[in-house]
Amino acid sequence: MTSALDDICEIDLMAYADGLLDDDTARKAAVEAYLEANPVDAARVQDIMRDNEAIRDAYAGELHRPVPARLLRAVREPERRQRNLPTSIAASLAAATLAAGIGWYAGQHGDEAVTVSRELLQEIAGHYSDNAGTQMAMGAGTAQAIGGTLISSPSRSVLLEVPLPDLSVNGYELTQRKRVEIGGHDMMHLVYRADDSTVNLFMHLNQRAESASMIHAEEDGLTVHHWSDGPMGYALAVEDRDKGAQQLPEVVRDAVEQAHFLDEAPAGFGGESDSIASEDPAGGTQQPSSTIPPVQHQFN
């Protein structure tokens, strides 16, 4: 027969130290009895409690600092907020010149097989690359297009930096990124892997500075979530059997929403010399997600 004391484990000790057993008096009493009989663990629990107290004391004053007006305004007057990719800026891009000179500043190149059919990707890319000046034709009733048409401005060169989503907290590591051309559309293809599943993310340029809500397409055990945000379009392909991937579309959309325009090219950016056919000479090696550099995209 085992006593309640034999039943106490590390989880109980941590929960006790963190004050999570206060509502469970029976368990709390059992832990306290255990600690009385085990001075080494008791000292360890005391250390944890002391650290917790020190952390709380160190930041105690933070709760009483006056809240800046801009934070209160963000809640009280949310309509004054500006989008990360304001249409007013996007509208200064040159639709006519987008196709002429696009430089991807990207990393590795590999031979990862595309698990999404080219036809579907082509359809998705074409979906958002309709001729400028015409209304975007959306296949699903749930889609809503907002924004404006890009205005030609050939003299201007604009850089767009798109962060690569870090899915490591969801169990996926970025294992590969490369450029692909599908149906005349230049795309950045990112491959994320978990233990037994793969997720593919495609980024491509829109010719219209429009945003559209997410649409879901199903194909052979895959669901492709695609959407548009200003000058960029995205398609995320996840395997239907991978239930853990269900939250990824939202995570990815939140991450890439941080895309922003750059005033000048960062050091190392190859500009036109890194144009479509180029590959990173260091290709092939894997890149840890913790050091994922963003993609910079140049519009000439």
Partner: protein, 174 residues
């Protein structure tokens, strides 16, 4: 948007700021992250399930924002020197207590980001592990193991850092 939701969000701002500051050790960056968090929360308020806690929902958004900021700002890492930590924590009148604060801030600084994030949610915000798991987006077991590793690191820091055994003599500045 309902005034009730605004009111609930506003009540969380001090806690969001404290957590963001503890994570980043930079007041400006912390407020920037909080502002992004608030804007995103309001933009996506339709996603908030009323059956869940608004605190968890806001902290989940804040955590993601902090990861994005960390990635963007990774070349601009706040150094761990005493001056930065000194500025980062409140300075109590009691010198011994101040040394304790410096030590804990320095020890937190040594932790990997994922461990620090979890430890601060538990120790600073007093959150249960399942809520932390929801915020960080990992299983509860992973939360426990990160907490355990973080605490072991703090213990080792206390044990093997000379300044932890011998209180720092602060120089008087006239």
């Amino acid at each position: 948007m309902s005034d009730e939701l605004k009111w609930m969000i506003e009540r969380q701002i001090p806690h969001l700021r404290r957590y963001a500051f503890a994570l980043t050790r930079d007041r400006d960056m912390a407020d920037e992250i909080v502002q992004d968090c608030l804007e995103r929360a309001l933009r996506k308020r339709h996603l908030w399930q009323r059956r869940g806690s608004i605190r968890s929902w806001l902290f989940r958004i804040l955590y993601r924002q902090s990861i994005d900021h960390h990635r963007k700002m990774r070349t601009d890492v706040v150094s761990a020197d005493t001056e930065v930590i000194d500025n980062a924590v409140n300075q109590p009148a009691n010198q011994e207590a101040r040394v304790d604060y410096l030590k804990i801030a320095e020890a937190l600084e040594q932790l990997p980001t994922d461990q620090r994030a979890v430890l601060l949610l538990a120790a600073l915000e007093g959150m249960p592990y399942d809520e932390i798991a929801e915020i960080v987006g990992v299983p509860v077991g992973t939360v426990r193991s990160r907490l355990s590793r973080a605490r072991e690191s703090l213990r080792q820091f206390r044990e093997f850092t000379p300044s932890a055994k011998e209180p720092v003599k602060l120089r008087m500045v006239k």
